[in-house]
Amino acid sequence: MQYLLLIAMDEQAYAALPDDVAAENMAAYGKFWAEMDERGVMRGGERLRPTTDATCVQVRDGKVITADGPFAETKEQLGGYYLVDVADLDEALEVAAKIPGAQLGTIEVRPIWSM
């Protein structure tokens, strides 16, 4: 089964991390990716630029409405994601708990709705 693991965290707190901690964190992400890739569950994933670089688009009555910012103001923001292919929710939760971001933020585990 495929799951999208969404990494939500306070991006301001994250940006304020000292350089050495941030570097350690990046190394941990690299290690996580390599481990999951070797295990054969990794299907993709990216880091996202902060919500200050986000733009929202809506189409209403045929008109495109563009606005600065994320679609919702929340305490934690989407900072990245992984797509994994695992046996079941238990394995997805186990993988999610290994994401370095789980230490600082929250991982939302969403099953892919196969059409």
Partner: protein, 450 residues
């Protein structure tokens, strides 16, 4: 299929046989059908159908010698019919065909042998899935009662004082999440087993407490939750005989439940432990509880349920209140506070210390707890303080603390109890006043010098 028993069974006996079979077999049948078909709704419907057929046929044909096998086979046949009509997968049908053989030849009560042989009882899969932490706690509770225990949606609703459509929707959503989110139907692997066992036990204990707190006596369904929780825990203990906390919780519930008849008087008022008629305690339940605790402790892996059971066991072993081993209880609360730190545990520990070393020692522990404010709004804190002040002979202070407790208490029996105590300490205060002012008229007059 098992042969029918002697015909012409009296109607009452058949009803009883169906009721017993329902209690014993519902969870097992549902659990197996879920594993084979992967369809929770289908499993429930087929189990229901099998019992409906038993109600119809057993009075006519007699109660089968092995009702469990009869019901399993019947439910299986219903499932096969439905799957055939739905032209469903061939493997499911083959698996269903295999059930009959097992249902006929397996001794239905030999759970232990099954466990030891490595074949997992489907009911364990069911209970772990119902209590999966990815489900909301209220959904876990509703699912466990519906699928494992076999309560109807209406009964679950009554037990939790919630509208029936709410429970029905909760069940539908939970089953949908199990399917869509890919919650596996299995006993969790070793690495996560302790936390998952804890999740199951939390649901079982919640059921028990829900029943135990229903002291009004006007709702039998709620009271019956205690029996269901104990029965469920017993089943889990049979299926996982080496889990000490399962036995610990079983012991804890049995020991609490042994006092059921003595803890409320004829008016529905609470009778405190020290005032209970101990001959009214259920000594069979106490023996069973102590035996479960001994088995748990022999596994040498202590946990919070075992410690709590050991505390209740200290009371159960005391033939009179004065024989209670309070120093032991105070020590056990210390142990519990180490395992699961909480202000409520500290409160109980302070009371035990008061009983062991005198009210002064207990009050010395309560004061910082009260000052910290973590238990603000919790009526048992001022109630415990009031009781210790009363025992210390500080009746005026006790009366003030009882006032505070009465401002927070919610249920009627607890309120009546506090009011009784309040009246007692007020009477003591008056008596002291009179002693201090000999010859003065009753009620006294203003006398700033007094």
């Amino acid at each position: 299929m098992s042969g029918p028993g002697p015909g012409g069974v009296p109607g009452g006996r058949v009803d009883e046989a169906v009721a017993v079979a329902y209690r014993e077999e519902w969870g097992r049948i549902v659990a197996t059908l879920i594993r084979v078909t992967g369809d929770w709704d289908l499993a429930e419907e087929c189990a229901q159908d099998a019992f409906a057929r038993a109600v119809e046929r057993w009075p006519r044909d007699g109660v089968p010698r092995n009702p469990g096998a009869w019901l399993t086979t019947t439910a299986r046949n219903v499932a096969i019919d439905r799957l055939r009509r739905a032209q469903s997968g061939r493997r499911k049908l083959e698996e269903l065909a295999g059930i009959e053989e097992r249902a006929m030849f397996a001794a239905p009560d030999d759970h232990r042998a099954e466990h030891e042989s490595g074949i997992v009882d489907d009911r364990l899969r069911l209970v772990f899935t119902c209590c999966h932490p990815a489900l909301a706690l209220d959904a876990q509770v509703a699912l466990t009662l519906r699928e494992m225990v076999g309560l109807t949606t209406a009964e679950v609703a009554r037990a939790f004082l919630v509208a029936e459509p709410t429970i029905a929707q909760r069940l539908v959503r939970a089953k949908r999440k199990i399917r869509n989110a890919g919650i596996p139907y299995r006993v969790p692997p070793r690495a996560v087993l302790p936390e998952r066992v804890a999740a199951v036990l939390a649901v079982v204990y919640l059921l028990f407490n829900e029943g135990y707190s229903a002291s009004d006596g006007d709702d039998l369904v709620r009271g019956a939750l205690c029996d269901e929780a104990i029965r469920l825990c017993r089943t889990i203990a049979e299926l996982m005989p080496d889990e000490p906390e399962v036995l610990g919780l079983l012991a804890l519930m049995l020991l609490h439940d042994s006092r059921r008849a003595a803890r409320v008087d004829a008016h529905g008022d609470i009778v405190l432990l020290e005032d209970q008629d101990r001959t009214q305690w259920d000594h069979d339940a106490i023996d069973a509880g102590l035996a479960a605790l001994d088995r748990a402790l022999a596994l040498r892996d202590p946990g919070p349920y075992q410690v709590q059971a050991a505390i209740v066991a200290c009371h159960a072993r005391a033939p009179v209140p004065e024989a209670t081993d309070w120093p032991q209880i105070a020590g056990l609360y210390g142990e519990l506070a180490r395992m699961t730190p909480s202000p409520v545990v500290e409160l109980n520990r302070a009371v035990a210390i008061a009983m062991a070393d005198g009210p002064g020692a207990g009050l010395a522990r309560l004061e910082p707890l009260a000052a910290s404010g973590v238990l603000t709004g919790y009526y048992l804190l001022p109630a415990a303080r009031a009781d210790l002040l009363r025992r210390a002979g500080r009746f005026g202070d006790a009366a003030v603390a009882y006032d505070e407790a009465l401002g927070l208490v919610r249920t009627a029996p607890e309120r009546r109890f506090l009011e009784r105590r309040q009246a007692e300490v007020r009477a003591e205060v008056r008596a002291e006043d009179e002693e201090r002012r000999p010859g003065r008229p009753r009620g006294g007059v203003d006398d700033p010098a007094a």
